[in-house]
Assembly symmetry: C2
Homo-oligomer: 352 residues x 2
């Protein structure tokens, strides 16, 4: 109820990573400052931010707009007037700054999870809550991080790690908490879906479709993680841990990418009333789940078959909650940044 | 984390209404007793239950299975051995029984909301939390009930009132709490969608399709509330209050039902690549929303167009969260009962 909030909670946060998602998060908390304060009882103070250039730390609060300006001008946060520092690392900031919440949006590094993993470890060890958009630390160390959080009375949220701004994790972890999910299927990687949809609908070759995806900002210069299926596999591992209560490892996911598919194969599928999509799936077999990522020939009536180029989606097959599907149209990084803010509200917000 | 819960919370609940949804809820809490206890830290004690026959109240806890057996044998809860009483009303039970939570699943009565409204009032006035599957009290008195809850330090949840087991309210109220929803569209009434889909796909007449829906348990003997659009309009009013922060009244919803549609019209639409669905929609115009329920000719690519006979769905168009859609396949009342349990977990459960 508007106006009913009397207590406003102040949360001091540190942001690691000021790339696409981190920068949109800073824009978002500026854009939504009044709603956060008036309707949700929350005042967010940016106590520190880190990127490759160094850090900017100010316990009284940095100006998020100023950080956004620096980044749009091609500068690092170390150039922040007065509070920028080139000789301090993200980890050192997390270990020393006064804050209750770490927002982790640094680049995905599947080799060792760094620098995100060390920052999350340090934050949780200090009892700080963590909201992360970075899959790697979770894929590498999910059970350990959850146990570390619990041991320190802290919480960790990661809705932004799976399917961008779609609340796929929240839906499964919270709305289906009492359900037995015996099967899930998802289109979890936007790049692959953009490419496959462009090939099927516009007759583009793989290379043409990839170039289009890169031009639209939906594919990296090096797209291998996405088109070879590993990004979707990472997300599947996170869903397995968090929704299926199944301690999956990346090694047990059968992974196949989309690089072997031709426009002809995709158009032939359409002619037969089917759609080829890169589907991540988990299916229970006995006491465990079989996990796979690969091209699937879906009937046109399948809830994932109709998803367009800029969409992702998920389907949960459950015992008592029916079959629940959800999808998002995501044209910019803003919905993923909003998923981070959703997690912040889940931790601290007052339900309006 | 399994095994990490050390404190188990005991919640004593009263259930009003032991029809389809209420009975399934009792089956559900029996079926899920171990998961609720071990994973979610919750022990539910059925302290009382009421139906048209009277009540059964026992502060040590009734056996939910015994209540289910009575209902399946065509008996009322007043026949419950030792604790059944014919001369006590639901309201009297709520006013006197020892419990912290009221579950309201009594029949929808749009005239005056009774008996549900009086029971909810009484529960909130005592500081009891309320989880309701009954639309009528909310449609008639949403702002008053929310204010009453707040004044008494109680909470009210109603995810089960809209689109059955689909977490449509939760998704909007919680996952989109920071977003501006400038438009929403939903297929919120299963009966109408079942009928329209049967007519379009199987060439049935309206009367034949209605008879099929009734035989499948998807339509009431008197289907007017559903097929004339008023059930969907009620749900739209609840979404307007809870998700759009817009204090809608039923009177301002432009309502048109499906009774004027013929199989020929529906099949003609399919031939033109469209689907006719009963759509409830809210669209912002200036400082208010325009609300309408009526048949809509949707493009086949519309996220609601593909929904089958036993499905409902919703689409939220937002400023910063993209376009988020969700749908459910709901073949029995169990998912709606599960939505009530979801609300209970939202109030008391420990996130696993």
């Amino acid at each position: 109820m508007e106006g009913a909030i009397e207590l406003v909670k102040t949360v001091r946060l540190l942001l690691i990573g000021a790339g696409n998602v981190g920068r949109h998060f800073l824009e978002l908390i500026t854009l939504k400052r009044d709603i956060l304060h008036d309707r949700l009882g929350l005042r967010l103070v940016l106590a520190g931010v880190a990127d490759r250039s160094g850090v900017a730390v100010c316990s009284a609060g940095l100006d998020p707009c100023r950080v956004v300006e620096l980044k749009l001008n091609g500068q690092g946060v170390a150039a922040y007037p007065r509070w920028g520092q080139v000789d301090v690392s993200a980890l050192e900031m997390v270990e020393t700054a006064q804050a209750g919440l770490l927002l982790e949006a640094s680049p995905v590094n599947l080799r060792d999870g760094q620098p995100g993993l060390a920052c999350i470890d340090a934050a949780l060890a200090r009892g700080m809550d963590v909201v992360t958009a970075n899959k790697a630390p979770l894929v590498l160390a999910f059970p350990r991080l959850l146990a570390l959080a619990e041991a320190n009375g802290a919480q960790i949220r990661f809705d932004a790690t799976v399917a961008g701004g779609l609340p796929a994790v929240n839906l499964g972890q919270r709305d289906l908490a009492m359900a037995d999910v015996y099967r899930l299927e998802g289109i979890l990687n936007l790049t692959s879906n953009y490419i496959l949809t462009s090939m099927a609908e516009r007759g583009l070759s793989y290379d043409q479709a990839l170039a289009h995806a890169q031009a639209a900002g939906h594919a990296e210069a090096d797209p291998r993680l996405d088109v070879e299926g590993w990004d979707a596999a990472n997300k599947l591992v996170i869903l397995a841990h968090s929704v299926l209560h199944y301690p999956a490892t990346l090694a047990e996911v059968a992974v196949q990418g989309i690089t072997g598919l031709t426009a002809e194969v995709l158009r032939q599928a359409v002619a037969e009333g089917k759609r080829v999509k890169l589907v991540a799936a988990a299916e229970r077999e006995g006491g465990r789940y079989r996990l796979a990522v690969g091209p699937a020939w879906l009937d046109a009536s399948h809830p994932l078959a109709q998803l367009g180029a800029e969409q992702m989606g998920i389907v949960y097959h459950t015992d008592v909650c029916g079959v629940i599907s959800a999808a998002i149209v995501e044209e910019t990084p803003m919905p993923t940044a909003a998923a981070m803010l959703r997690d912040v509200l889940d931790l601290y917000g007052t339900k309006s």
